[in-house]
């Protein structure tokens, strides 16, 4: 599950960057999301598409008030929610 969540997330980043004509920074776990080349709208689209493909939205589900800063945080959110 965790491997597939990661690859699904990475391919969504690439797909949305392409659709929105944005240059995506090289993806690594310590990349700060706001430096990835995607804006808030892009992230909203990524989260919505991931909810469709993975079946859940870890941000809507959690009571925990925190926001992911790096790509690694973002992936961990999904991996934790899938457990």
């Amino acid at each position: 599950m965790s491997v597939s969540a990661r690859s699904t997330i990475l391919s969504q980043f690439a797909q949305v960057a392409r659709e929105q004509n944005r240059k995506l920074a090289p993806l690594s776990d310590d990349l700060v999301l706001m430096d990835s080349g995607l804006d808030s709208l892009c992230f909203a689209i990524v989260v919505a598409r991931l909810e469709d493909s993975l079946g859940f939205d870890p941000f809507g589900a959690t009571e925990d008030a925190r926001f992911p800063v790096t790509l690694g945080d973002f992936i961990t959110f999904y991996e934790d929610a899938a457990k």
């Binding site: 706001m34 709208l41 919505a48 008030a65 926001f67 800063v69």
Partner: protein, 468 residues
């Protein structure tokens, strides 16, 4: 309060005791407010613009700010163009607002047929002037409402209606350093511009070209004490990893629904700050501000006047009556802005649960994507142009990032639907997305498209809209 007595912006900042050490900062430069009496950013004497209806159309916020400060009290009308104004609509704006002078940092040729009367160049740089302001007048301020499709809608305000303080004094007056993610050429940002100027403070402007990280760093350097933005702006701040660059005393969210999660996150990030969520619109003015740290609005805010504002719920939507609402629409006076009792219908639908009112959406199904409004019909019209689409429904879907996003459901024409293979459907979705990207602003393009067998249709033959 001195700000309520000011005839003009220039007069409000002219008090020598209060103007020292006060600045407006942009990403590129800074202007000392104390210098503005003897310097001008306009390529003419203000005398030439006296009593005129002046359109202000600028590339950047600082240039607009300087023009506003100099021309409020001089011009008969100031028509403030928002940053995304469509050049094709400028002739309509010019005619409707009876514009007879344009102040701009665009070249006249770039503005095409928009020019009305006298053209005056302006910039974000100032040079010495011997302008004498002379007698000042109460200038009418014309603002564009947000979220209209087609020709812009404009409303009439005054400095008094824009600046009337909800909480006279309190923590919002004084030598504060304000900043806002908003553009000051729209109502939400203009509020902050005026609060900073009239309340004795300074202002750090945002810049479209600047990253969240760079903006927060700059705001931190200027020692920002009061900061405002939409919940989406604040989510972006928390996601930037640079939220600690600022240590505000006051954090305000408006323009979108503030949910408990973002309020709690900001409380955790800024434990010493007042975290407030507020309602304001170009038409209805500032309605209320909630400072108890909870989502929703206490029911006790309704049914009586507080701070000069009366709130009520009628036919499910929020209505506001105060001296801060706009007076009337411009060029469309037959469309009433105020009802018979003087209330503005905000169109925002409220639900009462356990003693608090919560926003549940907009009447008419308007979708709010990170503070930008989307009319579903505009997006549906683009989707419906595709030869294989029979009908479509564009609606809102909740987003933890931008509050809401746009999604679409489409019904294919029957003769084509039966034969469609799934690979063809993904090609079709890609084609529709591409045509949406060509015709619409990015926030209006559906994040997801779903092909459905049918859509509910009302007895009047329209697609049934949830929340409508």
């Amino acid at each position: 309060m001195p700000q309520n007595d000011a005839v003009s912006l220039a007069q409000a900042i002219s008090d020598p005791a209060r103007r020292s050490q006060r600045f407006i900062w942009s990403a590129e430069t800074q202007v000392a407010l104390g210098d503005l009496g003897a310097r001008s950013s306009l390529d003419c004497s203000i005398e030439e613009l006296r009593a005129r209806s002046v359109l202000i159309l600028t590339r950047d916020q600082l240039t607009a700010a300087l023009a506003l400060i100099q021309l409020d009290g001089i011009a008969r009308r100031l028509v403030l163009c928002p940053p995304d104004v469509d050049a094709a609509h400028l002739p309509f704006v010019t005619a409707t607002a009876e514009v007879d002078a344009v102040v701009s940092d665009y070249a006249p040729a770039e503005m095409g047929a928009a020019q009305g009367g006298r053209f005056v160049a302006c910039s974000s740089r100032t040079s010495p002037t011997d302008d004498v302001r002379g007698e000042q007048r109460a200038t009418e301020w014309i603002l564009f409402t947000s979220g209209t499709s087609g020709a812009p809608k404009m409303v009439s305000h005054s400095l008094a209606s824009l600046a009337g303080a909800i909480q006279a004094g309190g923590h919002l007056a004084g030598a504060n350093v304000w900043s806002t993610f908003y553009d000051i050429r729209r109502y939400g940002g203009l509020q902050i511009f005026l609060r900073a100027l009239l309340g004795g403070g300074s202002l750090a402007l945002s810049s479209e070209a600047e990253s969240t990280t760079a903006f927060l760093t700059r705001a931190g350097v200027h020692g920002v004490t009061h900061m405002t933005g939409t919940p989406s702006h604040w989510r972006r701040t928390l996601m930037s990893g640079m939220a600690q660059q600022i240590s505000p005393q006051y954090v305000r969210l408006s323009g979108e629904i503030a949910d408990q999660s973002i309020l709690d996150s900001l409380r955790a990030q800024y434990p010493r700050a007042t975290i407030a969520h507020a309602f304001a619109s170009t038409e209805a003015g500032v309605g209320f501000e909630v400072e108890d740290g909870l989502a929703g609005i206490p029911a006790s805010f309704f049914g009586h006047a507080a701070h000069g504002v009366e709130l009520k719920v009628e036919d499910g939507s929020l209505r506001i009556r105060s001296a801060r609402t706009a007076r009337h629409y411009v060029g469309n006076e037959r469309t009433a802005l105020l009802d018979a009792d003087g209330y503005v219908d905000t169109g925002d639908v409220l639900e009462l649960r356990d003693g608090r009112y919560y926003f549940s959406g907009r009447r008419g199904g308007i979708i709010n994507v990170g503070g930008l409004k989307v009319h579903p019909e505009e997006v549906e019209a683009v989707i419906n142009r595709h030869p294989r689409v029979q009908m479509s429904l564009v609606r809102s879907r909740k987003s933890p990032v931008t509050g809401a996003i746009v999604v679409a459901e489409i019904v294919l024409k029957p003769e084509l639907a039966a034969t469609a293979a799934s690979s063809e459907n993904s090609t079709l979705k890609a084609e529709i997305l591409e045509s949406c990207h060509r015709a619409l602003a990015a926030h209006k393009v559906p994040a997801a498209i779903r092909i459905v067998p049918s859509l509910e249709v009302t007895p009047s033959g329209k697609v049934a809209r949830p929340n409508a």
